[in-house]
């Protein structure tokens, strides 16, 4: 059971996790046994309640805010994919593999929602339902659930935004065991983004790489969809911590320099993007 491994992994960075969870180590065994008894689907919540006990009361509100922010994004992603799979008859996947990939991604987003919701416990933000969303972004992408390529382009916007959003919040979680979990979500979003780029490439968007390269004229947006420029703002940078990456070794072009470091987005930038996909009255 991998969920139990999370506790083991946390123990490695927070040797007192078991003491935090319960002063009596024996009680931890009780949790392990409980895990064997209750269903797999219920585990994220059970785990969440344990996290809540461990960090809940001492969790600064800044950390709760970050987790709720992440939860909002995960709700959006989940509904975006879930609707595509369950309620979009006009959306034709070109093959079973494409549908399977979107299903895997949808399942990961559902798991992230459950994990964050459980971790936040009573502090979790209100649920975002599908009816609160507008994945046409106010008509910018009218064919999002009718045209496969449009659907993938919006999906890519979500994934690349997700990667940048988690990256932007890492500093707030610095040194906290929650950081590790956030990083574990962050790299999965990057895997999703890379795969959707590969799917888009196969669907005709030739030249789109699994990593974010420089767009036309050296902008950060390499997707060719100007409506998502905000998603890639700043991805074009080619120096890091005052070290110029372009030319740092033979063959490291400006494009390679931009590709090899993904950039963060500030919370306000992410919220502006997320709000495009939320109806009035439900925006972040």
């Amino acid at each position: 059971m991998n969920i139990l491994n999370i506790l083991d992994e946390i123990e490695k960075v927070d040797g007192e996790i078991y003491e935090r969870l319960n002063p009596r180590r024996a009680a931890m065994k009780g949790f392990v046994n409980m895990g064997k008894k209750i269903s797999l689907a219920a585990m994220p919540l059970a785990l969440g309640s344990v996290f809540n006990k461990a960090y809940g009361q001492s969790t600064p509100s800044a950390i709760t805010d970050v987790l709720n922010f992440a939860l909002a994004l995960e709700y959006l992603e989940f509904h975006f994919y879930n609707h595509a799979l369950l309620a979009s008859p006009a959306l034709i996947f070109p093959n079973v593999a494409a549908k399977n990939a979107i299903t895997l991604i949808r399942d990961h987003e559902a798991a992230h929602v459950a994990l964050l919701k459980g971790a936040l416990g009573g502090s979790a933000r209100a649920e975002i339902t599908y009816s609160m969303t507008d994945f046409t972004a106010g008509g910018t992408f009218p064919l999002v659930y009718d045209d496969y390529v449009t659907f993938l382009k919006v999906a890519l916007g979500f994934e690349d935004t997700g990667v940048r959003a988690y990256k932007g919040q890492a500093g707030v979680l610095k040194g906290n065991a929650v950081l590790t979990t956030a990083l574990q979500i962050h790299s999965v979003e990057a895997r999703h983004a890379a795969h959707i780029r590969t799917m888009l490439n196969a669907a005709g968007a030739t030249g789109l790489k699994p990593w974010i390269t420089l767009g036309p004229g050296g902008i950060g947006n390499d997707t060719g969809v100007s409506a998502v420029n905000a998603v890639y703002a700043g991805e074009e940078v080619t120096s890091q911590a005052n070290v110029t990456i372009t030319g740092i070794a033979t063959g490291v072009t400006a494009a390679a320099a931009a590709e090899c470091f993904d950039e963060p987005l500030a919370k306000t930038q992410v919220i502006a993007i997320a709000n495009l996909f939320l109806k009035a009255g439900f925006q972040l």
Partner: protein, 235 residues
């Protein structure tokens, strides 16, 4: 070190019979892996000259952020050396697109390596000598399997080491790199088996979480490819 006496007793009982406590694991984990020595924090100082391990090779001192950054630098050195070899002479059945993308990955890893070297300055460890004797560079399957292993390991390493960083700037930089490694990993996994970009056991299907590994575990795996002795202290 308060458990010194306990450690001595464990050593006398031998590796196999000793309870697998954290400190004993650190002492013994390197034993089976050529080139990597994991030394328990503080032991050499406390125990005097008789048992001080010879500090040849490079030392990753996890007492501060420089140790974590040098750990990343070591892994990037390994990855860069691998991709330089692949990109310069790829397996004959690599497609033109695969050749181009492996060139890209090569330059990403070189850039990461050189970035850490520049950022660490005088605190940087030396260059590592690699051992790729188990890799068949003319065989597509061998090259892709190794690339997948390195990328997934890199992701797990950054994910596991992030919490050790005290500087927000360094944490930010590690975050900027790890997602690129995850993109590499997804691409390579899809080459081996399309649709495998984020599947278990690397990504847990119940939690949707990627793997994370502590430095001792990562180095025990990476050590098979590193000839230079890597000493680990204050982990």
């Amino acid at each position: 070190m308060k458990n010194l006496q306990q450690l001595d007793e464990q050593e006398e009982r031998g590796i196999l019979s000793a309870p697998l406590q954290r400190r004993s694991f650190l002492q013994y984990a390197g034993a089976g892996v050529a080139g990597v020595a994991l030394v328990a924090a503080g032991c050499s100082k406390d125990r005097g000259e008789l048992t001080t391990p010879p500090m040849t090779g490079v030392t990753l001192d996890f007492k501060d952020d420089f140790g974590v950054l040098n750990y990343a630098y070591a892994l990037e050195q390994l990855e860069a050396a691998f991709y330089i070899k692949v990109a310069s002479n790829p397996p004959s059945n690599f497609t033109s697109s695969e050749r181009a993308y492996f060139q890209d990955i090569q330059y990403h890893e070189i850039a990461h390596r050189e970035f850490f070297k520049a950022a660490l300055g005088a605190a940087a460890i030396g260059s590592l000598e690699v051992n790729f004797s188990t890799i068949n560079f003319s065989d597509r399957t061998s090259v892709l399997a190794t690339a997948k292993a390195f990328e997934d390991l890199g992701v797990a390493a950054y994910n596991g080491a992030g919490v050790r960083l005290k500087s927000e700037v360094y944490l930010g930089l590690a975050g900027k790199i790890v997602s690129v490694e995850a993109r590499h990993a997804a691409y390579i996994r899809d080459l081996i088996n399309p649709g495998d970009f984020a599947t278990a056991p690397q990504v847990d299907s119940a939690t949707g979480l990627d793997m994370q590994l502590t430095p001792d575990k990562v180095l025990a795996i990476a050590g098979a490819y590193i000839k230079t002795k890597v000493n680990v202290i204050n982990l």
